[in-house]
Amino acid sequence: MLDAIDLTRAKDGDPPLLIHRIRLSLRAGDRLALIGPSGSGKTILLRALAFLDPLDEGAIFWRGEQVGGNRVPVFRSRVVYLHQRPDWTAGTVEQVLREPLSLEVHRHRAFSRDRIVGWLSRLGRSASFLEQSTRDLSGGELQLLALMRIVQLDPNILLLDEPTAALDPTTTSAVEGWLMDWCDQAADRAYVWVTHDMVQATRVSRRVIRMERGELVAPTATPSGLPQSRRYPSQE
């Protein structure tokens, strides 16, 4: 679905390269984990894949067509980047969820309260969560809201930047299960999951890629002895 060719970003054109000639292809059903030390360029790469920043070199192809110009909004409605630290105007949870639906690319969608309530119960929250003000939410709850906000748009690819960093272990495993199920529910879905936790990486992905100093290094083999998720056996 998504092909990234030689993605390169340099800081203001100076030598310290943020990411360097990255080639990456995402196919339907891909569940990819991206790990690497802080500052290795994981966030920059995810943002580049969503075409959020100007590239110094390289190009992104979506279903065979190069992404650019007026095609960008539609592309970003299909390939959605989840910010590490979500930020919205103050309002209730429901208002934040409805906001993207007012955009031109999503205007044909209706807000589905039942669907959200279903997800909430799976994530251990009640329907009253929808009426809460975003100002009263904890960091973890903001992450849940951010996830539901983009998943309700039925994108093809999720670019998840440490989506469970602020969550407790119970909610983390609920989110992992929910997103893996989401990925399996339709044929044309995939995600890239950035995490610092190697155990989580092997749990949620079929392929782990490591990033170092702005470059992808050879896929790391799953270290033996790490617990594989029992509830979600590999489906390869």
Binding site: P73, V80, W88, L103
Partner: protein, 280 residues
């Protein structure tokens, strides 16, 4: 209501000598006394400010005398150009946030808004026997328009850049789910437009109630009939209002095109805060 039929006695204005101006300068000693008594330490600044008032205005007076006497269209255009460039420079100096290439937005906004509105008024509203470039009309009108448009442009551009920086997270979270650059920046643009045009609208609401506008005061002192002076003032208010709105919208849209590219990306790295201490 018989007094309405009576002709208003119009007196010639009093020609001021330099001695009379010096008498007025005594008034500034009040400021100096306050500063010294209250230890405000503003004497030096006050002295410079008073000096600049005298020197700058005298210089402008000399230039105006020359242009008014000459009455050539290119002298008027030339003086107008200098005035516009100073206005552009003032806008850039008033900025709290800068972005690379901001001079272009303020320059086009200033030129287009002030010159088009002044041209409209000179060519159509004040259409009479005098040619359009008569300095007596062209120069003061352009000056009034520039002064107001300048404020709108500076306020609008500052507000826009500032909200882009403050709402960066919201703007990017909208772009990330497929918003166009217009959709993502709409709130910041509306806020900037309101900020830029609010002062002129406020002054339209209270004009005449709180104080008499400077231009009208001048016309009354020089002996113009009040109703005539008021008519002129109404023309001026509408001129400045439309030039301010036009200038603000041009400046904000120009900034928008500098800060968002055709690929619907926010170019936040172009923005940097102005370090006032470094500038001094």
């Amino acid at each position: 209501m018989s007094f309405l039929g009576k002709k208003i006695p119009v007196h010639e204005y009093i020609e001021l000598s330099y001695g009379q101006v010096a008498l007025a300068a005594v008034l500034i000693l009040v400021n100096a006394a306050i500063s010294i008594l209250l230890h405000l330490k503003m004497e030096r600044l006050l002295f410079i400010a008073a000096g600049r008032t005298v020197v700058q205005l005298l210089m402008v007076g000399l230039v105006l005398e020359w242009v008014f006497r000459w009455e050539k269209w290119y002298a008027v255009i030339g003086l107008g150009t200098v005035m516009t460039m100073i206005a552009v420079w003032t806008v850039l100096y008033q900025r709290t946030w800068r972005y690379s290439g901001d001079w272009f937005a303020s320059m086009t906004a200033m030129w287009l808004s002030a010159w088009s509105v002044t041209a409209y008024v000179l060519a159509l509203v004040l259409h009479g026997s005098a040619p359009w470039y008569t300095p007596q009309y062209a120069i003061p009108l352009l000056g009034m328009v520039l002064g107001n448009s300048l404020n709108g442009i500076a306020l609008g551009m500052n507000a826009f850049t500032e909200s882009i920086v403050a709402q960066r997270g919201q703007i990017e979270s909208l772009l990330a789910v497929g918003a166009t650059r217009w959709e993502a920046s709409r709130e910041a643009m509306q806020h900037a437009m309101r900020t830029g045009t609010m002062p002129i609208i406020n002054s339209m609401l209270v004009v005449g109630l709180v104080s008499l506008p400077g231009m009208m005061t001048g016309q009354l002192v020089s002996g113009m009939e009040p109703i005539q002076a008021v008519k002129y003032q109404i023309v001026i208010m509408f001129m400045t209002a439309s030039a301010t709105a036009l200038g603000t919208v041009l400046a904000v849209v120009g900034s928008f095109y500098r800060l968002f590219n055709q690929d619907h990306q926010l170019l936040i790295h172009r923005i940097r805060p102005v370090d006032r201490r470094a500038a001094r």
